[in-house]
Amino acid sequence: MTAPQEGRAHNRDTPAYRASRGAENRDKPAYRAEVAEVAEVAVKMPLADRESFLAKAFLLPSILYIVALVGIPFFMAIAFSFSDITAGDPSFDWAGLRNYRAIFADETFWRSLTNTLIFTLVSMVLVVVLGKVLANILVADFRGKWLVRFAVLLPWTTPVALSTISWLWLLDSVFSPIDWVLRKIGYLGPGENVYWLGKPHLAMASVIAVHVWRLVPLAAVIVMAGLVAIPRDIEDAARVDGAGFWRRMFGITVPLTLPVIAVAGLFGAILTFTDMTVVYVLTRGGPTNSTQVLASWAFFKGIQGGDVAQGAAIALFLFPLLLAAAVAILSSVRRMETL
């Protein structure tokens, strides 16, 4: 084999390289053979081994996906909110701030905004607290734990529409089994009903309860992952150091899982803030908009009511909070990395 003359082999002939190899070795046959081999490998480097190519190839599908399904609709929504597009007249005409003035003047919009914040805040507090409790149950070691784990995860695995419909029956104004139980234990008189979805505050409480029931398993699994990641020695050290259950929980476990709990909470907040399934199936925003949230109001206004422009303007109010939540998630993930 002769010394290489072409391709990448030229790099090997630079003075720096020669110096680093020791120039006196240059003419030895072994050295020549080695250089030739290196050069050949470089030429034959397959496509699948080039990181610069692979990185782009792997990123492309997700970028296309995000642009097509998130980016374009988002900018379309912004554009729509400044137009007069309706379902009947899809031509784009500039309308300035008219849609915003209209929704600000609409009492239902403010009602929906308040409801959304209450719905999200209360749900999240409950989801995080119950998620932590459930996570403790999930990591505990006891007889029949597989059955409990299965039952805990069931709400998350059931399709939303299906499970919410069974809640619809559970909360039915006349045939509610919950009411039946309450009548049997004497809390309600014969023929009396609670009307879970018929009274404003009860309806909101019911919507929150069903939503929490759906989200808690997800939060529990996320928090459980955080609990499992705490080294056993640290828990043991706290026990030897004389800390009881509550001190271990609030002095050690909770601070160490805080970033994970934050992620669970923020994911939950996003899923709650943008959710309209539970509201739609249970109450359709009623009674008298007392459970109306931004997502459902935008849907009713823009899709069912046909006023696409106003629907888009309403939906855009979801954006600032989602942005804040996304920033918070990313920064807490970064904190976890440095811990």
């Binding site: 050290a237 026990r239 030897v240 150091d241 004389g242 001190r247 160490l256």
Partner: protein, 354 residues
Amino acid sequence: MADVVEVRDLRKLFDGGKGGKGGKVRAIDGVDLATEPGEYLALLGPSGCGKTTLLRTIAGLEQPDSGDVLIGGHVVTGLPPRARKIAMVFQSYALYPHKTVLKNITFPLKAARLPAQMQRERVRWASELLGIEHLLQRRPRQLSGGERQRVALARALVREPRVFLLDEPLSNLDAKLRATARDELKRFQQRVGTTTVYVTHDQAEAMGLGDRIAVMQNGRLRQLGPPVEVYDDPADTFVATFIGSPPMNLVARGAHLVGFRPEHLLPIENVTTADRATMPFHIERVEYLSGDRHVYGTVKGIGEQTRVIARLPSTIDTPIASDEIHDFAVRADRLRFFDADTGERTTPVPLAPP
């Protein structure tokens, strides 16, 4: 007055192991052990011998299946760790990563609900004793291995526990630091005077630190005694070969094993006593290690032909070369005898001259 730790007929089973489903591993298989007051007791054994499980059972982190743990004369079996007034240093140090060094050390005092003034005094005392005052505001991840170990010791110390339990506290340090840390640990314990149980798999640590050594194997206590006794008079072949580097030579002779330490197998001209066991040594290889010569080869004469190792100190300059046969000898009072089947120590048997 320092407290005594005692375990009585302690047994602990774990699930799994041989025998498929429902099989049990005997992690601790009937151990009786008691420390002296203020003693430094080293628990020594190979990995999986049950020494860490024994320590965790004393701490109350594991519950025994039978038997009792006594601290200061009181049965503490079934009590949670916090009721036992013990302190433990873990192999990983187990510092709380989200707390500063100061808060790490204060944690046990807070748990004990000590008045704030007393907390400050204790923390100052412990951090001065271990020389970590300048680290108090740092977090564990900003500390070196040696500093972490001191913080873990300080955290164990502040509560003035009745017993220290140390689980391989030196194994995460590099070799150089380990020697100094070992020395410090010993001086520290002598100063504090608290009864200490120290788990290690490193015989040099056990020999160097322990007032007495408890050698464990397969969940059983093999021998308990001061370092000299464990080394010179091993109770069985396991202790004989586990302790000492290189280990004791064992030569089969009928129903017995004849044992002798490598440093007692010397060229015959260096063994001047009349009562000695002589054996021709076929030398295969000589290693020169830190002043000593380690001689590998086979001996005949006192039993079956066996590969043995001799360690000649630098004070012996008899010329030795490989591939020659030289007569070596061991002083008769340095020979140890074991039962070939059980491995237990037996009384000396006369060695007929070859």
